[in-house]
Protein backbone atom coordinates (compact mmCIF):
# COMPACT_ATOMS: atom_id res chain seq x y z
CA UNK A 1 0.00 0.00 0.00
CA UNK A 2 1.24 3.44 -0.77
CA UNK A 3 2.23 6.01 1.77
CA UNK A 4 1.08 9.33 0.51
CA UNK A 5 2.53 11.24 3.38
CA UNK A 6 5.95 9.93 2.40
CA UNK A 7 5.35 11.42 -1.04
CA UNK A 8 4.82 14.80 0.53
CA UNK A 9 8.32 14.67 1.96
CA UNK A 10 10.22 17.68 3.17
CA UNK A 11 12.24 17.94 -0.03
CA UNK A 12 9.09 18.09 -2.19
CA UNK A 13 7.37 20.49 0.19
CA UNK A 14 10.48 22.64 0.23
CA UNK A 15 10.60 22.88 -3.57
CA UNK A 16 6.89 23.68 -3.55
CA UNK A 17 7.39 26.48 -1.02
CA UNK A 18 10.55 27.84 -2.58
CA UNK A 19 10.60 26.75 -6.21
CA UNK A 20 14.04 27.00 -7.83
CA UNK A 21 14.41 28.70 -11.21
CA UNK A 22 10.91 30.12 -10.97
CA UNK A 23 10.18 32.90 -13.43
CA UNK A 24 10.92 33.74 -17.05
CA UNK A 25 13.97 34.17 -19.27
CA UNK A 26 14.58 37.30 -21.25
CA UNK A 27 16.07 35.54 -24.26
CA UNK A 28 15.07 31.90 -24.30
CA UNK A 29 16.19 29.78 -27.22
CA UNK A 30 13.51 27.21 -26.49
CA UNK A 31 10.10 27.48 -24.92
CA UNK A 32 7.03 25.29 -24.40
CA UNK A 33 3.76 25.39 -22.52
CA UNK A 34 2.42 22.22 -20.93
CA UNK A 35 -1.18 21.82 -19.98
CA UNK A 36 -3.00 19.13 -18.04
CA UNK A 37 -6.63 19.39 -19.10
CA UNK A 38 -7.71 17.08 -16.28
CA UNK A 39 -6.88 19.55 -13.54
CA UNK A 40 -6.21 22.77 -15.44
CA UNK A 41 -2.53 22.84 -14.49
CA UNK A 42 -0.41 24.94 -16.78
CA UNK A 43 3.35 25.14 -16.96
CA UNK A 44 5.55 27.42 -18.98
CA UNK A 45 9.17 26.34 -19.49
CA UNK A 46 11.85 28.47 -21.12
CA UNK A 47 15.49 27.60 -21.59
CA UNK A 48 18.61 29.03 -23.18
CA UNK A 49 20.87 26.56 -24.92
CA UNK A 50 24.51 27.51 -25.35
CA UNK A 51 27.30 25.31 -26.68
CA UNK A 52 25.04 22.29 -26.42
CA UNK A 53 24.37 22.97 -22.73
CA UNK A 54 21.21 24.11 -20.98
CA UNK A 55 22.75 27.30 -19.72
CA UNK A 56 19.60 28.85 -18.24
CA UNK A 57 16.19 27.42 -17.50
CA UNK A 58 13.08 28.85 -15.87
CA UNK A 59 9.51 27.79 -15.30
CA UNK A 60 6.31 29.33 -14.12
CA UNK A 61 2.66 28.43 -14.02
CA UNK A 62 -0.18 27.29 -11.91
CA UNK A 63 -0.12 23.79 -10.53
CA UNK A 64 -0.31 21.47 -7.55
CA UNK A 65 2.60 20.90 -5.18
CA UNK A 66 3.67 17.69 -6.91
CA UNK A 67 3.88 19.40 -10.29
CA UNK A 68 5.61 22.49 -8.97
CA UNK A 69 8.18 20.54 -6.97
CA UNK A 70 8.80 18.25 -9.92
CA UNK A 71 9.38 21.28 -12.16
CA UNK A 72 11.65 22.93 -9.61
CA UNK A 73 13.79 19.85 -9.08
CA UNK A 74 13.85 19.16 -12.81
CA UNK A 75 15.20 22.60 -13.64
CA UNK A 76 17.88 22.21 -11.00
CA UNK A 77 18.78 18.76 -12.33
CA UNK A 78 19.07 19.64 -16.02
CA UNK A 79 20.79 23.00 -15.68
CA UNK A 80 24.24 22.73 -17.22
CA UNK A 81 23.47 19.41 -18.87
CA UNK A 82 23.38 18.64 -22.58
CA UNK A 83 19.98 18.14 -24.21
CA UNK A 84 20.94 14.50 -24.66
CA UNK A 85 21.56 14.03 -20.93
CA UNK A 86 18.33 15.89 -20.20
CA UNK A 87 16.46 13.47 -22.47
CA UNK A 88 17.94 10.56 -20.54
CA UNK A 89 16.59 12.06 -17.32
CA UNK A 90 13.22 12.74 -18.94
CA UNK A 91 12.94 9.11 -19.97
CA UNK A 92 14.06 7.76 -16.63
CA UNK A 93 11.72 10.06 -14.72
CA UNK A 94 8.75 9.03 -16.85
CA UNK A 95 9.60 5.36 -16.45
CA UNK A 96 9.93 5.78 -12.68
CA UNK A 97 6.64 7.67 -12.39
CA UNK A 98 4.85 4.94 -14.25
CA UNK A 99 6.45 2.19 -12.18
CA UNK A 100 8.51 0.85 -15.07
CA UNK A 101 11.85 1.79 -13.54
CA UNK A 102 12.99 0.45 -10.21
CA UNK A 103 14.61 3.34 -8.35
CA UNK A 104 16.86 0.78 -6.63
CA UNK A 105 18.47 -0.07 -9.97
CA UNK A 106 21.24 2.12 -11.41
CA UNK A 107 19.89 5.37 -12.84
CA UNK A 108 20.74 9.04 -13.21
CA UNK A 109 17.84 10.39 -11.16
CA UNK A 110 19.57 11.11 -7.86
CA UNK A 111 17.28 13.11 -5.53
CA UNK A 112 14.49 12.86 -8.08
CA UNK A 113 13.68 9.38 -6.76
CA UNK A 114 11.67 11.14 -4.01
CA UNK A 115 8.93 11.05 -6.64
CA UNK A 116 8.99 7.27 -6.97
CA UNK A 117 5.90 6.94 -4.71
CA UNK A 118 3.81 8.66 -7.37
CA UNK A 119 3.51 5.36 -9.23
CA UNK A 120 1.00 4.27 -6.57
CA UNK A 121 -1.23 7.26 -7.35
CA UNK A 122 -2.21 6.86 -11.00
CA UNK A 123 -4.33 10.00 -10.99
CA UNK A 124 -1.33 12.05 -9.87
CA UNK A 125 1.30 10.61 -12.21
CA UNK A 126 0.45 13.26 -14.79
CA UNK A 127 1.11 16.01 -12.26
CA UNK A 128 4.69 14.83 -11.76
CA UNK A 129 5.33 14.15 -15.44
CA UNK A 130 3.95 17.39 -16.88
CA UNK A 131 7.15 19.44 -16.39
CA UNK A 132 9.27 16.71 -17.97
CA UNK A 133 7.05 16.34 -20.95
CA UNK A 134 7.02 20.10 -21.38
CA UNK A 135 10.82 20.18 -21.22
CA UNK A 136 10.93 17.44 -23.83
CA UNK A 137 8.67 19.52 -26.07
CA UNK A 138 10.78 22.63 -25.55
CA UNK A 139 14.01 20.82 -26.38
CA UNK A 140 12.49 19.27 -29.48
CA UNK A 141 11.06 22.49 -30.81
CA UNK A 142 14.59 22.94 -32.14
CA UNK A 143 14.77 19.71 -34.10
CA UNK A 144 11.10 19.60 -34.96
CA UNK A 145 10.83 16.15 -33.44
CA UNK A 146 7.35 15.00 -32.67
CA UNK A 147 6.09 15.16 -29.13
CA UNK A 148 3.60 12.47 -29.98
CA UNK A 149 4.00 9.27 -28.11
CA UNK A 150 2.11 6.07 -27.77
CA UNK A 151 1.92 6.48 -24.05
CA UNK A 152 -1.63 7.23 -22.93
CA UNK A 153 -0.45 9.06 -19.85
CA UNK A 154 1.65 11.37 -21.91
CA UNK A 155 -0.93 11.83 -24.61
CA UNK A 156 -3.46 13.17 -22.17
CA UNK A 157 -1.08 15.95 -21.29
CA UNK A 158 -1.17 18.42 -24.13
CA UNK A 159 1.92 20.40 -24.86
CA UNK A 160 2.36 23.32 -27.16
CA UNK A 161 5.73 24.50 -28.29
CA UNK A 162 5.91 28.22 -28.74
Amino acid sequence: MMHTKSLYQEVILDHNRKPRNYGTLEHPSHHAVGHNPLCGDRLDIALALENDRINQIAFQGESCAICKASASMMTAAVKGKSPQDAETLINEFREMAMGKLDPEQPNHLGHLTVFSGIRDLPTRVKCAILPWHTLHAALNSMTGASTETNDDLIQSVSVKTV
Partner: protein, 421 residues
Protein backbone atom coordinates in the same frame (compact mmCIF):
# COMPACT_ATOMS: atom_id res chain seq x y z
CA UNK B 1 -49.76 -5.33 -24.32
CA UNK B 2 -48.23 -5.80 -20.93
CA UNK B 3 -50.58 -5.41 -18.08
CA UNK B 4 -49.12 -3.15 -15.44
CA UNK B 5 -51.23 -1.66 -12.72
CA UNK B 6 -52.10 1.97 -13.29
CA UNK B 7 -49.17 4.03 -12.12
CA UNK B 8 -50.32 6.04 -9.14
CA UNK B 9 -47.76 8.15 -7.39
CA UNK B 10 -47.40 7.54 -3.70
CA UNK B 11 -46.92 10.68 -1.64
CA UNK B 12 -43.41 11.17 -0.27
CA UNK B 13 -44.34 10.12 3.22
CA UNK B 14 -41.79 7.86 4.91
CA UNK B 15 -43.12 4.54 6.11
CA UNK B 16 -40.42 4.25 8.77
CA UNK B 17 -38.49 6.76 10.86
CA UNK B 18 -35.01 7.69 9.66
CA UNK B 19 -32.64 5.08 11.12
CA UNK B 20 -29.11 6.02 10.09
CA UNK B 21 -27.39 2.88 11.40
CA UNK B 22 -29.94 0.65 9.68
CA UNK B 23 -29.47 2.60 6.45
CA UNK B 24 -25.69 2.36 6.69
CA UNK B 25 -25.90 -1.38 7.19
CA UNK B 26 -27.64 -1.57 3.79
CA UNK B 27 -24.46 -0.33 2.07
CA UNK B 28 -21.75 -3.02 2.12
CA UNK B 29 -19.15 -0.68 0.61
CA UNK B 30 -19.28 1.55 3.69
CA UNK B 31 -17.44 -1.21 5.59
CA UNK B 32 -14.43 -0.77 3.33
CA UNK B 33 -11.07 0.26 4.75
CA UNK B 34 -8.96 2.63 2.67
CA UNK B 35 -5.31 2.95 3.66
CA UNK B 36 -6.22 1.15 6.86
CA UNK B 37 -8.89 3.73 7.74
CA UNK B 38 -12.66 3.40 7.46
CA UNK B 39 -13.85 4.75 4.14
CA UNK B 40 -15.42 8.20 4.47
CA UNK B 41 -17.21 8.55 1.17
CA UNK B 42 -17.98 12.19 0.45
CA UNK B 43 -18.07 12.10 -3.34
CA UNK B 44 -21.77 11.38 -3.68
CA UNK B 45 -22.41 14.15 -6.18
CA UNK B 46 -20.13 12.27 -8.58
CA UNK B 47 -21.69 8.89 -7.90
CA UNK B 48 -23.54 7.43 -4.95
CA UNK B 49 -23.12 3.95 -3.50
CA UNK B 50 -25.45 1.03 -3.99
CA UNK B 51 -27.47 -0.59 -1.20
CA UNK B 52 -27.81 -4.35 -0.86
CA UNK B 53 -31.45 -4.49 -2.05
CA UNK B 54 -30.40 -2.95 -5.38
CA UNK B 55 -27.39 -5.27 -5.67
CA UNK B 56 -29.73 -8.19 -4.91
CA UNK B 57 -32.16 -7.01 -7.56
CA UNK B 58 -29.42 -6.99 -10.18
CA UNK B 59 -28.27 -10.44 -9.13
CA UNK B 60 -31.83 -11.77 -9.24
CA UNK B 61 -32.36 -10.34 -12.71
CA UNK B 62 -29.16 -11.88 -14.04
CA UNK B 63 -29.80 -15.13 -12.21
CA UNK B 64 -33.41 -15.72 -13.14
CA UNK B 65 -34.89 -13.12 -15.47
CA UNK B 66 -32.50 -12.12 -18.23
CA UNK B 67 -33.25 -12.19 -21.93
CA UNK B 68 -33.59 -9.58 -24.63
CA UNK B 69 -36.81 -7.60 -24.51
CA UNK B 70 -39.65 -6.62 -26.87
CA UNK B 71 -38.81 -9.52 -29.18
CA UNK B 72 -39.16 -13.18 -28.52
CA UNK B 73 -42.26 -14.98 -27.35
CA UNK B 74 -40.42 -17.19 -24.87
CA UNK B 75 -40.79 -17.06 -21.11
CA UNK B 76 -37.61 -15.16 -20.19
CA UNK B 77 -38.14 -12.52 -22.83
CA UNK B 78 -41.61 -11.87 -21.47
CA UNK B 79 -40.34 -11.64 -17.90
CA UNK B 80 -37.51 -9.30 -18.83
CA UNK B 81 -39.84 -7.15 -20.94
CA UNK B 82 -42.30 -6.89 -18.06
CA UNK B 83 -39.61 -6.05 -15.49
CA UNK B 84 -38.12 -3.42 -17.79
CA UNK B 85 -41.54 -1.90 -18.27
CA UNK B 86 -42.18 -1.92 -14.53
CA UNK B 87 -38.96 0.04 -14.06
CA UNK B 88 -40.25 2.61 -16.53
CA UNK B 89 -43.48 2.88 -14.55
CA UNK B 90 -41.52 3.28 -11.31
CA UNK B 91 -39.64 6.19 -12.86
CA UNK B 92 -42.89 7.61 -14.20
CA UNK B 93 -44.29 7.65 -10.68
CA UNK B 94 -41.06 9.02 -9.24
CA UNK B 95 -41.22 12.15 -11.39
CA UNK B 96 -45.05 12.16 -11.58
CA UNK B 97 -45.23 12.01 -15.36
CA UNK B 98 -48.68 11.71 -16.91
CA UNK B 99 -47.84 8.65 -18.98
CA UNK B 100 -45.19 5.93 -18.93
CA UNK B 101 -44.37 6.60 -22.62
CA UNK B 102 -43.00 9.97 -21.55
CA UNK B 103 -40.10 8.19 -19.83
CA UNK B 104 -37.22 7.28 -22.14
CA UNK B 105 -34.35 5.20 -20.86
CA UNK B 106 -31.02 6.67 -21.91
CA UNK B 107 -27.47 5.80 -20.93
CA UNK B 108 -27.51 8.74 -18.54
CA UNK B 109 -28.01 12.48 -18.29
CA UNK B 110 -25.40 13.32 -20.94
CA UNK B 111 -27.00 10.91 -23.39
CA UNK B 112 -30.43 12.40 -22.65
CA UNK B 113 -29.27 15.96 -23.32
CA UNK B 114 -27.63 14.83 -26.55
CA UNK B 115 -30.90 13.11 -27.48
CA UNK B 116 -32.78 16.38 -27.04
CA UNK B 117 -30.13 18.32 -28.93
CA UNK B 118 -30.34 15.94 -31.91
CA UNK B 119 -34.04 15.11 -31.69
CA UNK B 120 -35.41 18.56 -30.90
CA UNK B 121 -32.58 21.02 -31.51
CA UNK B 122 -31.50 19.87 -34.95
CA UNK B 123 -35.11 19.79 -36.12
CA UNK B 124 -36.43 23.02 -34.66
CA UNK B 125 -33.50 25.38 -34.07
CA UNK B 126 -32.37 27.46 -37.03
CA UNK B 127 -29.72 30.03 -37.93
CA UNK B 128 -30.02 33.17 -35.81
CA UNK B 129 -32.00 31.42 -33.07
CA UNK B 130 -30.89 31.77 -29.48
CA UNK B 131 -30.40 29.15 -26.78
CA UNK B 132 -30.30 30.24 -23.15
CA UNK B 133 -27.98 28.38 -20.75
CA UNK B 134 -26.63 29.35 -17.34
CA UNK B 135 -23.17 29.81 -15.86
CA UNK B 136 -23.94 26.91 -13.51
CA UNK B 137 -24.35 24.31 -16.26
CA UNK B 138 -22.32 21.14 -16.25
CA UNK B 139 -20.31 20.70 -19.45
CA UNK B 140 -22.87 18.11 -20.52
CA UNK B 141 -25.48 20.85 -20.85
CA UNK B 142 -23.11 23.24 -22.60
CA UNK B 143 -21.14 21.27 -25.17
CA UNK B 144 -24.07 19.64 -27.05
CA UNK B 145 -25.68 23.07 -27.47
CA UNK B 146 -22.42 24.59 -28.64
CA UNK B 147 -22.17 21.82 -31.22
CA UNK B 148 -25.71 22.63 -32.37
CA UNK B 149 -25.07 26.38 -32.38
CA UNK B 150 -22.01 25.87 -34.54
CA UNK B 151 -23.83 23.60 -36.94
CA UNK B 152 -26.87 25.84 -37.28
CA UNK B 153 -25.43 29.28 -36.79
CA UNK B 154 -27.44 29.71 -33.60
CA UNK B 155 -26.32 31.74 -30.62
CA UNK B 156 -25.85 30.82 -26.95
CA UNK B 157 -26.83 33.33 -24.28
CA UNK B 158 -25.69 32.77 -20.70
CA UNK B 159 -27.41 33.65 -17.43
CA UNK B 160 -24.85 35.03 -14.95
CA UNK B 161 -24.56 34.20 -11.25
CA UNK B 162 -23.96 36.38 -8.21
CA UNK B 163 -21.11 35.92 -5.71
CA UNK B 164 -23.12 33.41 -3.71
CA UNK B 165 -23.53 31.23 -6.79
CA UNK B 166 -27.19 32.04 -7.40
CA UNK B 167 -28.61 32.75 -10.84
CA UNK B 168 -29.43 36.36 -11.57
CA UNK B 169 -33.06 35.94 -12.49
CA UNK B 170 -33.53 39.52 -13.71
CA UNK B 171 -30.72 38.95 -16.20
CA UNK B 172 -32.34 35.67 -17.25
CA UNK B 173 -35.54 37.51 -18.07
CA UNK B 174 -33.69 40.13 -20.09
CA UNK B 175 -32.20 37.46 -22.35
CA UNK B 176 -35.56 36.54 -23.89
CA UNK B 177 -36.61 37.85 -27.27
CA UNK B 178 -38.39 36.57 -30.36
CA UNK B 179 -35.26 34.63 -31.40
CA UNK B 180 -35.11 32.63 -28.16
CA UNK B 181 -35.90 29.02 -29.03
CA UNK B 182 -34.63 26.89 -26.15
CA UNK B 183 -33.59 26.98 -22.49
CA UNK B 184 -31.21 24.46 -20.90
CA UNK B 185 -31.20 24.78 -17.14
CA UNK B 186 -29.49 22.88 -14.37
CA UNK B 187 -31.79 22.21 -11.40
CA UNK B 188 -28.99 21.91 -8.84
CA UNK B 189 -25.40 22.99 -9.49
CA UNK B 190 -23.01 20.05 -9.23
CA UNK B 191 -20.09 22.31 -8.38
CA UNK B 192 -21.78 24.51 -5.78
CA UNK B 193 -25.03 22.84 -4.73
CA UNK B 194 -27.16 25.88 -5.62
CA UNK B 195 -30.83 24.96 -6.07
CA UNK B 196 -32.25 27.06 -8.87
CA UNK B 197 -35.82 28.46 -8.88
CA UNK B 198 -36.67 26.40 -11.93
CA UNK B 199 -40.44 26.53 -11.64
CA UNK B 200 -40.63 30.29 -12.07
CA UNK B 201 -37.92 30.17 -14.74
CA UNK B 202 -39.87 27.56 -16.71
CA UNK B 203 -43.07 29.61 -16.40
CA UNK B 204 -41.23 32.66 -17.69
CA UNK B 205 -39.82 30.79 -20.70
CA UNK B 206 -43.28 29.47 -21.52
CA UNK B 207 -44.55 33.05 -21.80
CA UNK B 208 -42.34 33.13 -24.89
CA UNK B 209 -43.38 29.60 -25.95
CA UNK B 210 -39.81 28.45 -25.34
CA UNK B 211 -39.33 24.83 -24.22
CA UNK B 212 -37.12 24.15 -21.20
CA UNK B 213 -34.83 21.20 -20.53
CA UNK B 214 -33.95 20.62 -16.88
CA UNK B 215 -30.70 18.82 -16.05
CA UNK B 216 -31.80 17.17 -12.82
CA UNK B 217 -28.74 14.94 -12.27
CA UNK B 218 -27.94 16.62 -8.95
CA UNK B 219 -31.54 17.32 -7.95
CA UNK B 220 -33.33 14.00 -8.23
CA UNK B 221 -31.43 12.41 -5.30
CA UNK B 222 -32.42 15.23 -2.94
CA UNK B 223 -35.61 16.94 -4.12
CA UNK B 224 -39.10 15.58 -4.82
CA UNK B 225 -39.55 15.95 -8.58
CA UNK B 226 -42.98 16.62 -10.04
CA UNK B 227 -42.67 17.27 -13.76
CA UNK B 228 -46.35 18.16 -14.08
CA UNK B 229 -46.11 20.77 -11.37
CA UNK B 230 -42.84 22.12 -12.78
CA UNK B 231 -44.34 22.03 -16.29
CA UNK B 232 -40.86 21.45 -17.75
CA UNK B 233 -40.69 20.11 -21.30
CA UNK B 234 -37.74 17.82 -20.53
CA UNK B 235 -36.24 16.53 -17.30
CA UNK B 236 -33.27 14.19 -17.05
CA UNK B 237 -31.12 12.40 -14.49
CA UNK B 238 -28.87 9.37 -14.06
CA UNK B 239 -29.37 6.25 -11.95
CA UNK B 240 -25.89 6.12 -10.49
CA UNK B 241 -26.40 9.29 -8.47
CA UNK B 242 -29.53 7.71 -6.99
CA UNK B 243 -27.96 4.53 -5.59
CA UNK B 244 -28.55 2.76 -8.89
CA UNK B 245 -26.18 1.31 -11.50
CA UNK B 246 -24.11 3.25 -14.03
CA UNK B 247 -25.07 3.21 -17.69
CA UNK B 248 -28.70 4.21 -17.36
CA UNK B 249 -30.71 7.35 -16.85
CA UNK B 250 -34.00 8.78 -17.98
CA UNK B 251 -35.27 11.53 -20.16
CA UNK B 252 -38.75 12.70 -19.31
CA UNK B 253 -40.37 14.61 -22.15
CA UNK B 254 -43.89 15.83 -22.70
CA UNK B 255 -45.50 13.31 -25.04
CA UNK B 256 -46.46 15.90 -27.67
CA UNK B 257 -42.93 17.28 -27.77
CA UNK B 258 -41.34 13.84 -27.97
CA UNK B 259 -43.68 12.91 -30.79
CA UNK B 260 -42.76 16.01 -32.76
CA UNK B 261 -39.05 15.27 -32.46
CA UNK B 262 -36.91 13.31 -34.90
CA UNK B 263 -35.15 10.16 -33.68
CA UNK B 264 -31.60 10.44 -32.35
CA UNK B 265 -30.14 6.98 -32.89
CA UNK B 266 -31.32 4.61 -35.59
CA UNK B 267 -31.50 0.86 -35.16
CA UNK B 268 -33.57 -1.99 -33.87
CA UNK B 269 -36.62 -1.43 -31.67
CA UNK B 270 -37.03 2.19 -32.74
CA UNK B 271 -38.80 1.21 -35.95
CA UNK B 272 -42.28 0.10 -36.94
CA UNK B 273 -41.16 -1.16 -40.35
CA UNK B 274 -38.05 -1.00 -42.46
CA UNK B 275 -37.49 -1.33 -46.19
CA UNK B 276 -34.55 0.06 -48.10
CA UNK B 277 -36.90 2.70 -49.46
CA UNK B 278 -38.38 3.86 -46.21
CA UNK B 279 -38.42 3.35 -42.46
CA UNK B 280 -41.46 4.07 -40.36
CA UNK B 281 -40.46 4.94 -36.82
CA UNK B 282 -41.93 3.33 -33.78
CA UNK B 283 -44.04 5.25 -31.27
CA UNK B 284 -42.56 6.85 -28.17
CA UNK B 285 -40.76 5.86 -26.02
CA UNK B 286 -39.40 3.17 -28.41
CA UNK B 287 -38.60 5.74 -31.10
CA UNK B 288 -35.79 6.92 -28.83
CA UNK B 289 -34.57 3.56 -27.54
CA UNK B 290 -32.68 2.11 -30.50
CA UNK B 291 -30.93 -1.18 -29.94
CA UNK B 292 -30.96 -3.36 -26.86
CA UNK B 293 -31.29 -0.99 -23.91
CA UNK B 294 -29.44 -1.40 -20.59
CA UNK B 295 -32.14 -3.79 -19.34
CA UNK B 296 -30.43 -4.90 -16.14
CA UNK B 297 -29.38 -1.37 -15.26
CA UNK B 298 -32.89 -0.02 -15.86
CA UNK B 299 -34.37 -2.68 -13.59
CA UNK B 300 -31.72 -1.86 -10.98
CA UNK B 301 -32.66 1.79 -11.40
CA UNK B 302 -36.25 0.92 -10.56
CA UNK B 303 -35.09 -0.96 -7.47
CA UNK B 304 -32.97 2.03 -6.39
CA UNK B 305 -35.97 4.34 -6.72
CA UNK B 306 -38.03 1.90 -4.64
CA UNK B 307 -35.29 1.91 -2.01
CA UNK B 308 -35.06 5.72 -1.86
CA UNK B 309 -38.80 6.30 -1.81
CA UNK B 310 -39.15 3.85 1.08
CA UNK B 311 -36.84 6.11 3.09
CA UNK B 312 -38.49 9.18 1.59
CA UNK B 313 -36.78 11.94 -0.38
CA UNK B 314 -37.87 14.58 2.15
CA UNK B 315 -36.36 12.60 5.02
CA UNK B 316 -33.19 12.15 2.97
CA UNK B 317 -33.01 15.89 2.28
CA UNK B 318 -33.57 16.75 5.94
CA UNK B 319 -30.67 14.57 7.11
CA UNK B 320 -28.37 15.88 4.38
CA UNK B 321 -29.30 19.42 5.28
CA UNK B 322 -28.26 18.73 8.91
CA UNK B 323 -24.92 17.41 7.68
CA UNK B 324 -24.35 20.45 5.48
CA UNK B 325 -25.15 22.84 8.30
CA UNK B 326 -22.82 20.95 10.65
CA UNK B 327 -20.01 20.83 8.08
CA UNK B 328 -20.39 24.47 7.03
CA UNK B 329 -20.19 25.67 10.64
CA UNK B 330 -17.04 23.63 11.26
CA UNK B 331 -15.18 24.46 8.07
CA UNK B 332 -15.75 28.18 8.63
CA UNK B 333 -13.67 27.88 11.79
CA UNK B 334 -10.60 26.72 9.87
CA UNK B 335 -8.47 29.70 8.83
CA UNK B 336 -7.61 29.97 5.15
CA UNK B 337 -10.58 27.92 3.99
CA UNK B 338 -12.98 29.58 1.58
CA UNK B 339 -16.36 28.09 0.78
CA UNK B 340 -17.19 28.39 -2.92
CA UNK B 341 -20.95 28.65 -3.32
CA UNK B 342 -22.99 30.05 -0.48
CA UNK B 343 -26.46 30.10 -1.97
CA UNK B 344 -29.30 30.39 0.52
CA UNK B 345 -30.95 27.41 -1.09
CA UNK B 346 -28.49 24.58 -1.65
CA UNK B 347 -28.06 20.83 -1.44
CA UNK B 348 -25.43 19.15 0.73
CA UNK B 349 -22.44 20.16 -1.38
CA UNK B 350 -19.46 21.83 0.24
CA UNK B 351 -17.05 23.19 -2.35
CA UNK B 352 -13.99 24.86 -0.89
CA UNK B 353 -10.46 26.06 -1.45
CA UNK B 354 -7.59 26.34 1.02
CA UNK B 355 -5.31 29.30 0.56
CA UNK B 356 -2.05 28.33 -1.10
CA UNK B 357 -2.84 24.63 -1.42
CA UNK B 358 -3.89 23.02 -4.68
CA UNK B 359 -7.09 20.94 -4.52
CA UNK B 360 -5.33 17.86 -5.89
CA UNK B 361 -2.85 17.92 -3.03
CA UNK B 362 -5.79 18.27 -0.63
CA UNK B 363 -7.55 15.31 -2.22
CA UNK B 364 -4.48 13.10 -2.15
CA UNK B 365 -3.74 13.81 1.52
CA UNK B 366 -7.39 13.35 2.56
CA UNK B 367 -7.36 10.03 0.74
CA UNK B 368 -4.53 8.87 2.97
CA UNK B 369 -7.04 8.94 5.82
CA UNK B 370 -9.74 7.24 3.79
CA UNK B 371 -11.63 10.46 3.06
CA UNK B 372 -12.92 10.57 -0.53
CA UNK B 373 -13.69 14.00 -1.94
CA UNK B 374 -13.73 15.25 -5.50
CA UNK B 375 -11.08 17.71 -6.58
CA UNK B 376 -10.96 19.51 -9.89
CA UNK B 377 -13.18 21.70 -12.02
CA UNK B 378 -16.19 19.37 -11.64
CA UNK B 379 -16.91 19.58 -15.38
CA UNK B 380 -18.11 23.11 -14.72
CA UNK B 381 -15.25 25.31 -15.86
CA UNK B 382 -17.44 28.41 -16.36
CA UNK B 383 -18.26 28.24 -12.63
CA UNK B 384 -14.55 27.98 -11.78
CA UNK B 385 -13.80 30.96 -14.03
CA UNK B 386 -16.54 32.97 -12.32
CA UNK B 387 -14.79 32.47 -8.98
CA UNK B 388 -11.35 32.83 -10.54
CA UNK B 389 -10.16 29.44 -9.23
CA UNK B 390 -8.79 26.62 -11.41
CA UNK B 391 -10.41 23.98 -9.25
CA UNK B 392 -11.99 23.31 -5.88
CA UNK B 393 -12.26 20.44 -3.43
CA UNK B 394 -15.82 19.25 -3.05
CA UNK B 395 -17.36 17.21 -0.28
CA UNK B 396 -20.86 16.08 -1.19
CA UNK B 397 -22.98 14.32 1.40
CA UNK B 398 -25.53 11.55 1.03
CA UNK B 399 -28.21 10.38 3.41
CA UNK B 400 -25.94 7.55 4.61
CA UNK B 401 -23.21 9.91 5.78
CA UNK B 402 -22.88 10.71 9.47
CA UNK B 403 -21.54 13.56 11.54
CA UNK B 404 -18.41 11.67 12.60
CA UNK B 405 -17.56 11.51 8.89
CA UNK B 406 -17.82 15.28 8.71
CA UNK B 407 -15.43 15.33 11.69
CA UNK B 408 -13.03 13.07 9.77
CA UNK B 409 -13.10 15.51 6.86
CA UNK B 410 -12.32 18.43 9.16
CA UNK B 411 -9.48 16.51 10.84
CA UNK B 412 -8.14 15.71 7.37
CA UNK B 413 -8.26 19.36 6.32
CA UNK B 414 -6.27 20.26 9.45
CA UNK B 415 -3.66 17.62 8.52
CA UNK B 416 -3.46 19.06 5.00
CA UNK B 417 -2.81 22.49 6.45
CA UNK B 418 -0.14 21.06 8.77
CA UNK B 419 1.66 19.30 5.90
CA UNK B 420 1.84 22.53 3.93
CA UNK B 421 2.58 24.79 6.88
Amino acid sequence: MINVAEAVRKPDVPTTPFDLEKIRSDFPILNLKVNGKPLVYLDNAASSQMPQPVIDRLVHYQTAQHANINRAVHYLSEVATLEYHKARCTLQQFVNAREDREIIFTSGTTDAINLVMHGYGRKFIQAGDEIILTTLEHHSNIVPWQMLAKEKGAKIRVVPINDAGELEIDEYRKLFNERTKFVGLIHVSNALGTINPIKEMIAYAHQYDVPVLIDGAQAAPHIVIDVQDLDCDFYTFSAHKLCGPTGVGILYGKAAVLEAMQPFKGGGDMIASVTFEETIYNTIPHKFEAGTPPIAAAIGFGAAIDYLTTIGIKQIAAHESDLLEYATAQIQDIPGVRIIGTAKNKTAVLSFTIEGIHPHDIGTILNQDGVAVRTGHHCAQPVMHRYNVPATSRASFAFYNKKTEVDALMAGIRIVKKVFL
